[in-house]
């Protein structure tokens, strides 16, 4: 009896601690959501820990989603993420296939080259000067061509490819299929989970990228969403936050709450991640373990 009681007390403590920990993650996010959905005139009543909107209004989202800078930046981010990830996947998978599943003179040399450049990272300034010299400043290419092949991810991809049974490849070779055919017709279709994992790795990176954009893009028309967000939230620059809001009266503009608008921008930028989150949990974690410490 005593033992049972003791056990349940420790269990309750453990569950409570974990519950509190998950609240520290959830409450800040729900608080921002509540702020962005509150009536601008009532939002000051919302406690710093409040997670239920005071009043209800979509005005913040109406303003944000009618702001040309934000709309443009969402499309910029989508473009960079989609094109960037597609190129990442194509090059990473093709290189991984050659290095993981074929034999050719010079393979060892290529592997040494990759490990050497993995250890020796160039610095920020020479990278910037190269992009400048190539005339890529203020182009999407400057972002797409940064870490187009991430060597860590390449090595993870190679491990995935090594798991495809040799007999299948052997059978294709017997049928006279060349390497490129084997890669496109057999390796890629058999590696859909691996490609999904890699796609999420690269996709999340592109969606969240802001630093390269900070240094390479001066033209605000090309800015990704994260950079616009940074301008609003970190640099506290409110001037560009209001777009051309013809539908607002002066009173309404005067009543706006900038903190709520900032909260709304944060929410907009994380919605796509939340939509993909079930997939992320399914694939990303497995891939991360694959690349991390393997026992």
């Amino acid at each position: 009896m005593n033992k049972l009681k003791k056990l349940s007390v420790s269990t309750i403590i453990i569950y409570s601690i974990l519950f509190l920990i998950s609240l520290t993650v959830l409450i800040p996010l729900l608080h921002l959501l509540a702020m962005s959905l509150s009536d601008p005139l009532k939002v000051h009543e919302l406690s710093g820990l409040g997670i239920i909107p005071e009043g209800f209004s979509l005005i913040n989202y109406k303003i944000l989603l009618s702001n040309p800078l934000i709309i443009k930046s969402i499309f910029n981010t989508l473009f960079i993420t989609i094109v960037g990830t597609a190129l990442n996947l194509l090059l990473t998978a093709m290189t991984a296939y050659v290095l993981a599943r074929t034999k050719f003179p010079g393979r060892k040399l290529v592997m040494i080259f990759l490990i050497v450049i993995m250890v020796f990272e160039p610095g920020l300034i020479p990278e910037y000067l190269l992009v400048k010299d190539l005339g890529l400043l203020d182009t999407y290419a400057s972002l797409i061509l940064y870490k187009t092949i991430n060597i860590f991810y390449l090595f993870i991809m190679m491990r995935f490819f090594e798991d495809v049974p040799e007999s299948i490849l052997e059978a294709a070779r017997m049928d006279g299929a060349g390497h490129f055919r084997i890669f496109t017709k057999i390796m890629l279709p058999l590696s859909k989970p691996a490609l999904a994992t890699m796609g999420l790795f690269y996709g999340v990176y592109h969606w969240n990228e802001y630093f390269r954009a900070t240094i390479y893009l001066t033209d605000t028309d090309k800015w990704p969403l994260q950079l616009v967000l940074r301008q609003f939230v970190v640099e506290r620059d409110n001037t560009s936050m209001l777009g051309a809001q013809n539908f607002l009266s002066y009173e309404q503009i005067a009543a706006l709450d900038f903190a709520s608008l900032q909260a709304g921008t944060i929410i907009i930028s994380i919605v796509p991640l939340l939509l993909l989150y079930p997939l992320i949990l399914k694939y990303y974690a497995k891939g991360a373990l694959e690349g991390g410490v393997k026992d």
Binding site: Y15, V25, G48, V98, V110, P122, Q226, A288
Partner: protein, 299 residues
């Protein structure tokens, strides 16, 4: 023999073709800027060739109090993170491992992993809101316990702790995955035997789980040391403001500011080469130490 290799090379032409884009990419976007680091020993000229100046920039660097402060901040922040952040994911994995209700376990895991996927801009935004001196959540809690509100973001005494807690908030959950995976590999028969011997939950944790995690903990620790000089650029970059720059300016933010904002390309490259050389020494030594003791390296 030689003919054999030539023949092999010839028959592998498709493979070389498939490798070509990657090799071209790395040559342009990695190797060229790598050699571009020679700028650390030059003076940058907009027109005409750069001029070699030897160790000039390094001499200025090491006699500059500003650089010494930056170096100090980098080391302090990194050490604080190792001491106060590193054990947290391990403890968290032990706690999560004790949860037997599948649904609750899944709920906790999916929530604590989430911050890892948010951008540093978003994380900074969330924390700036929550640390707001007027009505931020943290100060609401402080006021509840009759403590005065604090402006953490501009407080030199607190900002480094903010960085440590923020790192815990963002990464403790995600980093616990690796330990959880290692725990799952521990043979259940060990626990069965311990239970028969009357070991309590805490004793099982202390004498079975933790010792089984030692090699994973060592590996993660050693690999982390390889990135000691980073101290978290994106985090600091987004949490930076003029009130606290003197205590959280680190090597990478310094290089960014001196180089790209002030335009002192060569001087900033010298600072970044210094950081890079220490980084390479750390990575290589941790790789070989890790290989030696745990059989696992960085690659």
């Amino acid at each position: 023999m030689k003919k054999g290799i030539l023949k092999q090379i010839k028959s592998s032409w498709v493979l070389y073709l498939m490798l070509f884009p990657a090799l071209l990419y790395f040559s342009i976007f990695h190797v060229i800027p790598l050699f571009g680091m020679k700028l650390a020993f030059q003076d940058y000229r907009i027109i005409g060739d750069n001029v070699w100046v030897g160790w000039k920039h390094f001499k200025v660097l090491f006699s500059s109090p500003a650089f010494m402060d930056v170096l100090k901040n980098t080391i302090i922040i990194s050490v604080m993170k190792i001491v106060f952040f590193f054990p947290i994911p391990i403890l968290l994995s032990l706690l999560i491992n004790e949860v037997r209700i599948g649904k609750f376990r899944k709920y906790v895991q999916s929530i604590v992993y989430l911050p890892h996927f948010l951008s540093w801009v978003v994380i900074a935004g969330i924390w700036i809101t929550f640390l707001n001196p007027d009505d931020g959540g943290v100060n609401v809690i402080r006021n509840f316990f009759n403590m005065p509100s604090l402006d953490f973001m501009t407080s030199k005494d607190h900002i480094r702790w903010v960085l440590v807690f923020q790192e815990i908030w963002r990464s403790a959950g995600w980093d616990s995955i690796i330990y959880l995976a290692a725990i799952l590999k521990i043979s259940p028969s060990l626990y069965e035997a311990a239970k028969i011997d009357g070991a309590s939950k805490i004793q099982q944790m202390r004498y079975i789980t933790l010792p089984s995690l030692t090699s994973t903990i060592m590996t993660v620790f050693i690999l982390n040391l390889g990135f000691f000089m980073n101290a978290g650029f994106d985090q600091v970059f987004n949490m930076m403001n003029t009130s606290v720059i003197s205590v959280i300016d680190i090597l990478d933010t310094y290089v960014y500011r001196i180089g790209l904002i002030n335009g002192q390309y060569a001087y900033a490259t010298a600072a970044s080469l210094f950081k890079g050389v220490i980084g390479v020494i750390l990575i290589l030594s941790t790789h070989f130490i890790s290989k030696r003791f745990t059989g696992k390296g960085v690659w």
